[in-house]
Symmetry: D2
Subunit: 339 residues, 4 copies
Amino acid sequence: MPAQIAINGYGTIGKRVADAVAAQDDMRVAGIAKTKPDFEAKLAVRKGYSVYAANRDAVAKFEKVGVRTAGVLEDLVKGVDLVVDCTPEESGYKPLYEKAGVKAIWQGGEEHALTNLSFNAAVNYADCIGASFVRVPSCNTTGLIRTLYPLDAHFGIDRVVAVMVRRATDPGDSKKGPINAIEPELEMPSHHGPDVQSVLPNLNIHTIAVKVPTTIMHLHTVTVDLKKPATGDAVLDVWKRFPRITFVAGGDGVKSTAQIMEIARDLSRNRADLYEIAVWKDGVHVVDRTRLYYFQAVHQESDVVPENVDAIRALLELERDGRKSMEKTDRSLGIGLAG
Amino acid sequence: MPAQIAINGYGTIGKRVADAVAAQDDMRVAGIAKTKPDFEAKLAVRKGYSVYAANRDAVAKFEKVGVRTAGVLEDLVKGVDLVVDCTPEESGYKPLYEKAGVKAIWQGGEEHALTNLSFNAAVNYADCIGASFVRVPSCNTTGLIRTLYPLDAHFGIDRVVAVMVRRATDPGDSKKGPINAIEPELEMPSHHGPDVQSVLPNLNIHTIAVKVPTTIMHLHTVTVDLKKPATGDAVLDVWKRFPRITFVAGGDGVKSTAQIMEIARDLSRNRADLYEIAVWKDGVHVVDRTRLYYFQAVHQESDVVPENVDAIRALLELERDGRKSMEKTDRSLGIGLAG
Amino acid sequence: MPAQIAINGYGTIGKRVADAVAAQDDMRVAGIAKTKPDFEAKLAVRKGYSVYAANRDAVAKFEKVGVRTAGVLEDLVKGVDLVVDCTPEESGYKPLYEKAGVKAIWQGGEEHALTNLSFNAAVNYADCIGASFVRVPSCNTTGLIRTLYPLDAHFGIDRVVAVMVRRATDPGDSKKGPINAIEPELEMPSHHGPDVQSVLPNLNIHTIAVKVPTTIMHLHTVTVDLKKPATGDAVLDVWKRFPRITFVAGGDGVKSTAQIMEIARDLSRNRADLYEIAVWKDGVHVVDRTRLYYFQAVHQESDVVPENVDAIRALLELERDGRKSMEKTDRSLGIGLAG
Amino acid sequence: MPAQIAINGYGTIGKRVADAVAAQDDMRVAGIAKTKPDFEAKLAVRKGYSVYAANRDAVAKFEKVGVRTAGVLEDLVKGVDLVVDCTPEESGYKPLYEKAGVKAIWQGGEEHALTNLSFNAAVNYADCIGASFVRVPSCNTTGLIRTLYPLDAHFGIDRVVAVMVRRATDPGDSKKGPINAIEPELEMPSHHGPDVQSVLPNLNIHTIAVKVPTTIMHLHTVTVDLKKPATGDAVLDVWKRFPRITFVAGGDGVKSTAQIMEIARDLSRNRADLYEIAVWKDGVHVVDRTRLYYFQAVHQESDVVPENVDAIRALLELERDGRKSMEKTDRSLGIGLAG
């Protein structure tokens, strides 16, 4: 019998995790919980998900606009094996899950301290097998881990400085700005550096974040001082052996994040998502043998989605081999865009 | 045997028409022709389409980057029943098609005079049956026809003034602006008014166009003086009887074009497209019994796609009943989003 | 002795009114009041304005960051002849002004009902002479009145439909969006129509508003059914006789609001402001003798500034002839850009 | 008698250099040359500049739209002491200037090789005294030099990595994008690194450029490995001793480039320009004693303008002391915004 999974929070990440879980054969979506009966709730019903109101008060709101609920979050949680919590940060549902005795996965908006265990399928799947609670770090952090871990394993890393040029808000939002400005995050390092270290504790990394008026992707410019000499081709060869990294080329007309998202659309991906980190092949440069510079683009809405699926397998011990879980997940989501 | 269709031009519209044709059971994509071997060409190969170079000179460019071509456009055209021409305006391929004796469909970038027959499935399918050449008007024009034709048929229209707030460029493009400005089209009426009249010759319509810094949809504000009195609800009831109009509501959180595109993504539409014209239910207002105002959003990349499929059926006489063709097309594309 | 003027609220409008008042010889800035000691407060000090904290609580905040205050708003109000209230809507300071026995001017964020008297220098200066309280309507409303009043006076107006394509937020703000969407105001008419009627009560006008991702100007597309036949040139001739309308031309390279703002910068206007309404000469079209269509651009930050100065003169009876007040104001601000 | 200066090219930089020259007492604008009689040409006439057509062919175009020319560029060049060439890159006017025997200054669009002498007032004024030809590097390069030179002089610099998040186009332009994308410059280093070395030949610098959808400023994130230990305060103290660096603070509400440009407007600067490089005080961080990170914003339209004025003085030997020239220039332009 497939594992029963609840999705608490059905926004950008929650709705994607729901669809990804639904695409697996060893787990199923028992239901999703939501605070507001907006168009996303209506589409969830249409998709066939059992919709639960986040609490008793919310039930009335759902009923008022004709969205039938299957109960409230508490009911949902009782009957499942695991909850994927995709609510906004510090929503505070942990006691509820503990009381119900269910396992849970949180997203990167939460602090590492909430679970003391942060997950990346390629790095520490084995360490998370059977755990009760785990956190999947944020989209940017996951993106950095994806390309830095292979480099550290193969060449050794002395120091990383990553400047993250961040999208300001998601495509489905129209309230936030800026419209015509660039906004630096004055605190340093940005939270992403320590966050990468929650998975790669020995990595010397400094992160800097800048927000710009776009909705579609983050772009990272990464400076890595390697311990062993490398070439651009050698770096690309290492990355090619790791999953969830894909390659694009300015020479093919992929000049910006706009064309990367266009590729995801042309691949007929669900929601036009790109779960992989996209690295520009012709933007990888090694100077003075050990100084590596590269650009990567991160689809903030979806890169953590396959990680959540793998985390479910690890916690529920549905699969003990991380590599096999990743392959299974990737096959189900159509991941594997040739570079 | 399914009809053999060539797609000449594989950009925003061409690649969508190709996929839509491929989704039908009475026609198939014989091949697509392209001038440049960029990432879109590579993805076409990956999708399994036979790729033809636009001309002999282009073949070398394709070979140089390892994109195998099945020949040149001229070869492709010889073996098909019909070409859908999705090349930029005034590309001048008509003589080639005439020489090869194949039927052809052009897009809205071309003048009505090229074919003297402009197509809209709901309005004049019957008039186009068996024709050799037809033009599908532009996305904006098609959008206006979709909602105005039912109004004219049921209430009669005295006068229309449509202000089209246009997206500046498509999501996959990153070269064009403006970034932070509003640009009026000073010529009046914009070409859309006469273009609507190419399908609805007796409609008194004046169109005004303004370009704004967004990539995702056009938004029309339409002022209609009706001949017979109406109410907002009566107007909505009429539209509901027509295909390819869908309804959204500010009350459901659909505040802008951003949320409409999010709906298309959440519906798992191919490329996150929305073939229907989206009308805000709570934005339809009738003042003084005959003065109707409404907002509609047009997905510039895709609303004409189902029209192209129907046009193919009409020209090749694959189906003589327009309503049946539309139903078949819509079913294949997943059209029919409940309002 | 010049009239003593207080400015309560020192944001987008307040700081401009302060500078405009300071540029007159018959009035002076007694002080400005502010709630927060941010960079704008520091620049106010630097400019030599006496800065008052909005209330006792705010004083500490100012002192903490070293911005010296001259007292609190209440102190300021006591010693002046008139307060220009540029605080956010419904700030509720009216009782304070009444208690202090000072006259006051509010901005368009407030309802007409607050004062029952809305001001436009060209239309009803005489009606406002000696009044205690008056409201200057919003930037968009003022923009519509500027060009519609002359048309109504000379040709008569049957009906107006104005579609306002609005900037989403001001250039100095970086919090609000949308970044990549178009947002219609679903309520109709937008508040601007009734607001125009607060000054021009007999005008038949319907207004429609759409918000777009730009910070620099609003653009209006105006449809006017005239009572008497006109030509484009005749319309331009009428407008040229009225102040605070300026003319631009696509033929000169003024394709969008970007170039209009560039003109304001090139004219070395204070803060690069454009107090006039800009009409595209080559965008004025008359169809069927009485149907007029035109585009105008409104600099949302500054078009009401000269109106505030004139309103001060009217209320304090510094000048009984509105035309003379306008000329004086315009001369001081450098208004009079030749078309 | 003041030196006679010609400005060839009257776009973003040219018109600003003209106004800055006009503000000096030891030089005057003999005339400006332009290729097209657009609105900028009309405003130049209005400002009282003598306008010359770039060539004989252009004269007719000017006459046609009623813009009176004083002759052609060749006439203008003959009568002056120096030409500031603000034409697009590789316009190729050098032979014309050589033939006329006049000195000339080019902008950063040109290669260093054109003059073999690149100018920065604070760094190498003395080296340029009496030179015939000099180049003022681009806005970004000038911005980097302004803050790096003091650091190198006081602490010594081992290595710099600068990630430049660039505005896509200027505010007065509405043709270029991207609207909703981030575009990396895949070539590395970007031209800025070698360009900085044209003035600071021994600096070890790597520059990376990314283009984003904004019009108003560039934002640099700079990583500097210092030779001697430093603190953030010590770094700020060094910068305060150098001209044309100004300081802003997130704590004052300056969260983004939007608020920096607002400051320039509030200071009533001509064209709302900011000639200084703006450094966020609360964004300067030193980690591990020698690793300095900071953010700076560059007003791409104007930071090179005072450099051009100083370069004129150096070439024409109007002033032999660079520091005095800078003070004179800065006073005339209102530079000296306290941090």
